[in-house]
Symmetry: C2
Subunit: 463 residues, 2 copies
């Protein structure tokens, strides 16, 4: 008999009681009365279980009654609609077979577990409802991003992870090496002899694919990266992981306003896709994790995002009837408290802040006419703070050369990047979204460790 | 005036001469006669250029005539259909403006360049027709894979790249560290003190996400990874890169035949998607790279793939009227010459080989009843050899424990992997596709370095 997915049973408004179906799945709960037992079975195809009614006289009855959680079962039976019950239908079993055993000391018995404990069970936690919901949303959100960008003719480019350069001169990178750490070869000066290493030079894990993506934007016009990035920051916050995923669209013939328009459209597309395709998961999270989740997603989908300059934002912060821990003055980098005040108190919706002071932003951002600010933008959203960061890139070769000198970067290392301008001073712009930060926004989950399947943080590389 | 994409001009069967359009793009060629000049412009939106007619009297005429390749231009004009000409339409310019300069020593002037030279210009090579075609196909193939799997309810899981384990006990991995290589901290025994490292233990870059994906398959039923993997092999062939992308679907309640069916469907889906969405690119590659490309893709899309056991394959190789460099006998690992003989000479189409000797395959593959073979499968395709490898996984806890001992692996390191069985001995199976190998198959490009935007190989981590 062909296997039927529980998801497809839920997709049918009514069911034919004369037709027998076969379902395979895992036992989630079992309770027995004198004559019958109720089994909740999940087959992985959707977050909802199916209730199975097993009568006393069924073959294997005694074996099934003792089956531990996560026993693998095959159930054959008829689907009976139950319009008056909590669940819309149930399966009356005519045959149940144990396909695989489970041990009775299953660590995720039905009770509350702390997130910390569940992180130690990262191999089992996707079997819980909360993580099932989060990781299905992660998958759907990733696909929605691909779909939005591909529909708009963006080309997906896989930029390298192992790199000999350091995108922002930021420093905190992981080294990649095949040298024997017990016996590092040294050169005549007593320093590491990197010519003996795999790449014959020092290499790191990338912090961003942007510069490489720019090369492709100048051939394909609209491109994007969507892949892992790394930061070796010894940071123990709820918002930082050593390994995370980034989406980085990059567009030629596009200015800062295009970044704002495309990123707003993309965010709304993803949210709408989730509302349409992950409604059950959002409902579950709304009930159990963040009671404002659905309302926030719908509001964001329907809002016209606000847009102000950094200078206007500073004015609003100075006029706030609220004390900030970090002093507000023109020139500061906005802190999370400032960002949340603007999006939560002033606008109560997402707000784009544009034209930041040049001195607090990266070298590649395009300088404005005032010589004080650059064409940069951040999107601040309620509950999170910064969700998206973008900029128009400095396409003027002479200006970029100046900036590289001013930022004490090595022009030789950026030779190829400068050549992109030498052979095409094309206006172009791009933005980046930390995928996990987006996921925290669309799930209500507050710790980045709980939106990554197997998170990597200082001291933790298990599984 | 709103910008029009060249792609959308090609999508229209006829054009209205009374309407003015604005196109922005890069100058690819320019030739002048007495009265008019012909400019070929590419705007990145498609592989095809648009021909622009510039008359002698136009403002900026002298400036444009001297413009070097890759000058950024804005063209305003009317689109005139040219049914008798090679190109279906051309733009008669009423205004041309230089938006950005290019230097006259552009290294990719219109002439033949060796692949080796172009690899040194990896930041510029996507601007050539060949690499434009290859990398747009790369993007479309990636999306087709996502679309096929998502339509079939597979959940995308991002498995970790930094890992403390070694999936296949294979060895050749990159180390990831934040230790100072000039001054590696040592413990009392004079060995590396990894407790001082970022993760407080030795870590590597992963070679496969499969084991992690299995954990998710036992919650979501059908899942897949699609991300980077790494091998620190000092290999200088045309088929190996240190950094590459893998697709790894993993399915619960699925056996080896399901792997065969799903992988055949997926491969055909991708090929069909490319034939429908990358027809111009395939035409270009068919003319310039591999004259059998289109025929091969269409044949693969339409073929019923063959399927034989390893034992039958050995018999066919022994009966071959051809000498092999590597001796054929039951128990050997098939070499590329054997794989290509089977797919090119015997079947002339893709062929699945199943049930390989247990001793040449990984510990996690499910042992068959004969105790000599495992439920493994490889897909061999003409021109490439092995394209897909998969297996049914050993779900029986006792058997898996035995195998881990037999393969001299550390049971402690696989504790969580064994627990997946302890709490769910569920039949499950999966397969892996090297994305670049697939790309070589669907583009006809013969060197893996030429299907990766910025390839990493021994001694090369530039850009």
């Amino acid at each position: 008999m062909e296997n039927t997915l529980v998801k497809s049973l839920y997709a049918q408004a009514t069911h034919d009681e004369d037709v027998s179906v076969e379902v395979t799945g895992w036992l989630k709960t079992l309770r027995s009365s004198k004559k019958i037992s109720f089994l909740e079975i999940n087959d992985g195809s959707c977050i909802k279980n199916v209730q199975v009614i097993m009568e006393n006289g069924l073959e294997n009855y005694e074996e099934i009654k003792k089956a531990p959680i996560y026993t693998t079962l095959k159930v054959v039976g008829t689907v009976v609609d139950t319009p008056k019950a909590k669940q819309p239908f149930e399966i009356h079993a005519t045959e149940i077979e144990v396909l695989g055993n489970s041990d009775s000391d299953y660590p995720l018995q039905k009770k509350h577990h702390t997130p910390e404990f569940l992180r130690e069970q990262a191999h089992l936690r996707p079997r819980t409802n909360t993580f099932y919901a989060v990781f299905r949303i992660r998958s759907l959100a990733a696909f929605a991003i691909h779909e939005f960008l591909q529909k708009n003719n963006f080309v997906y480019v896989n930029t390298p992870l192992i790199t000999s350069s350091d995108t922002e001169g930021a420093g905190e990178m992981f080294k990649v090496t095949t040298l024997d750490l017990n016996n590092v070869p040294k050169n005549e000066e007593g320093k590491v002899d990197s010519t003996k290493d795999f790449f014959k030079q020092p290499t790191n894990l990338t912090v961003s694919g942007q510069l490489n993506a720019e090369a492709f934007a100048l051939a394909f016009r609209d491109v994007y990266t969507f892949g892992p990035a790394f930061r070796a920051e010894d940071s123990h916050t709820t918002r930082h992981a050593a390994e995370f995923w980034m989406v980085e669209p990059e567009m030629a013939f596009a200015n800062l306003q295009d970044v704002i328009n495309v990123s707003e459209d993309m965010l709304k597309y993803v949210i709408n896709y989730l509302l349409e395709n992950a409604s059950d998961e959002i409902d579950f999270l709304n009930q159990n994790v963040d009671q404002e989740l659905r309302a926030r997603l719908e509001a964001t989908r329907d809002a016209d995002f606000a847009q102000i300059t950094y200078t206007e934002a500073i004015d609003k912060l100075l006029a706030a009837d609220q004390e900030f821990e970090n002093k507000v003055e023109w020139g500061i980098d906005l802190q999370t408290e400032h960002e949340r005040y603007l999006s939560e108190k002033v606008y109560q919706k997402p707000v784009f802040i544009t034209d930041y002071p040049r001195d607090i932003k990266a070298f590649y951002m395009r300088e404005n006419e005032d010589h004080k600010t650059v064409a940069a933008v951040d999107l601040l959203v309620p509950g999170i703070g910064e969700l998206i960061g973008g900029s128009q890139r400095e396409e003027r070769l002479a200006k970029l050369n100046e900036k590289i000198k001013e930022f004490n970067l090595d022009p030789e290392e950026y030779k190829w990047y400068l050549e992109l301008r030498k052979y095409g001073e094309t206006e172009h712009s791009g933005f980046g979204i930390g995928f996990e930060r987006l996921l925290m926004y669309v799930t209500g989950v507050e710790n980045i460790r709980d939106v990554i399947p197997f998170p990597r943080t200082p001291g933790n590389a298990s599984f």
